[in-house]
Symmetry: none
Subunit: 253 residues, 2 copies
DNA sequence: ATTGACCTTTACGCAACGTAAAGGTTTATG
DNA sequence: CATAAACCTTTACGTTGCGTAAAGGTCAAT
């Protein structure tokens, strides 16, 4: 039995454009071209197309499919396993996204100030990105991609509970800042406790802790308006005081 | 605080190209353009970008994000719910795919590989054809076309699981043949068990069972080279022994 | 004054096709 | 037998969300 493009398209349920494209990229060549330049497919091509569509259904890229169908079975299995891992990762990511959306909807409906939720999410992302940008490369070189990815994932997937705890710690820090600021001395006990709490808070959300990073963040607080606004909210000059306390705590001043 | 593209890019962790693109599609316009044509972003834009990145993280398309951020919150919630449903569908689909990949890998590995799978397919076809040729006519006359066609279809569509079970049974038969052959007597208990298993195996793949057909197949085994090769593989003269056992089992000898 | 680090716009490239457009071939119908 | 309808062909632009030049202006520092 022989088929022209549209016949095969009808038979297999894909479009003729798809078949031409598969021809173009060398994934599925017709058995022959007739005198008028028409693509003619035979039984062999039908079977091959079945296989191709099977893999496509599994979300394997066409590039991968080309590799797969040109290889012996054991390599095909290896390729499938690799693909399987990718799918699992994809699902894990999707699960987290779904969880986040659920929480977001709940908080929007429950009225628990979505704004805070979102701010938090944004803050997390921002932190991750900054962390990535500033220290990611070195850390990735030192500890490998997996370590970094895992901790980022952990941070992203932080639960509501964790968030509550972290938020509580954040509040405490603001209160401590007020108290410490009154001493006027960033080296005072209270100020140093403040710095310690800040480190704790940081580690909560920031699995890749380093003195350098902490110091860098402290400097950034002073340089970056939204952060100064936040820490100066209750105490004028609080941001700078916090930075000094942290630098002393880290033995960098 | 004001930012140029690269400043904001660094702050937020996206690329400057991304920001220009967002400007281009009207997702995030800079607060103003300075005299040199530079894009200048302010605090409002930073906050908006946070929101945008939050939704992006949730795999909302940029087009959707444009709609969302231009709407009041209750509509935002509705949009999120809609998106949530899409995500759930996506996950359900992904789950199915993963299950299929798992099964495929298992069958490729656990199975005696693809090659056997193909052989099996060929075997099935051959069996159907032979069945057709030798008994088809009579059976069609006796039971009607539909019966035959349906059982052929059933055989062709035999599942991987069935194949596994059948393959296991096939293995068992080979082992039993060795044991039975040692007795030297096709009427022995072991040989009769062999014959019974063979019938079971046959019925597995062959919905139209009859003593005559079974006997005919047994004779065919002896006459047909590929079959003798298969059953003589471990035991010389095994095929004839099997035939005799079957004929006795059927009360035909 | 020059260098280097910024910024700009324009534009091609990616995956896997959908969708014309412009034109040749085959088949059906009057 | 002519012509229309139904096929087929290649070429090429559009899609999404940017990455990556290329070609050229602007700004800060040496």
């Amino acid at each position: 039995m022989e088929y022209t493009v549209n016949k095969l398209a009808q038979l297999s349920g894909v479009s003729s454009r798809t078949l031409r494209y598969y021809d173009q990229i060398g994934l599925l060549k017709p058995a022959r071209i007739n005198s008028s330049g028409y693509r003619i497919y035979g039984q062999k091509e039908v079977d091959l197309l079945q296989q191709i569509l099977f893999y496509r259904e599994l979300e394997v890229s066409l590039e991968e499919i080309i590799k797969i169908i040109n290889q012996p079975t054991f390599n095909q299995t290896a390729a499938l396993k690799n693909h399987y891992n990718n799918l699992k990762k994809k699902r894990a990511r999707l699960d987290k996204i779904i969880a986040t959306v659920e929480r977001t909807i709940a908080s929007k409906e429950g009225g628990i100030s979505m704004e805070d939720q979102q701010k938090f999410e944004g803050f997390k992302e921002k932190m991750i990105e900054e962390n990535e940008q500033k220290y990611g490369k070195e850390i990735r070189e030192k500890y490998g991609d997996e370590t970094v990815d895992v901790s980022n994932a952990k941070l992203r997937g932080m639960s509501q509970e964790d968030y509550q705890a972290m938020a509580a710690l954040g509040e405490e820090i603001l209160l401590l800042l007020e108290k410490a600021y009154e001493t006027g001395d960033p080296a005072s006990d209270v100020a140093q406790e403040l710095a310690a709490k800040h480190k704790e808070w940081l580690m909560y959300s920031w699995p890749n802790y380093s003195k350098e990073a902490h110091a860098g963040l402290a400097e950034m607080y002073v340089a970056d308006e939204p952060f100064t606004a936040y820490y100066d909210k209750n105490v004028k000059g609080g941001t700078e005081f916090l930075r000094d306390a942290i630098l002393i705590y880290l033995g960098m001043k």
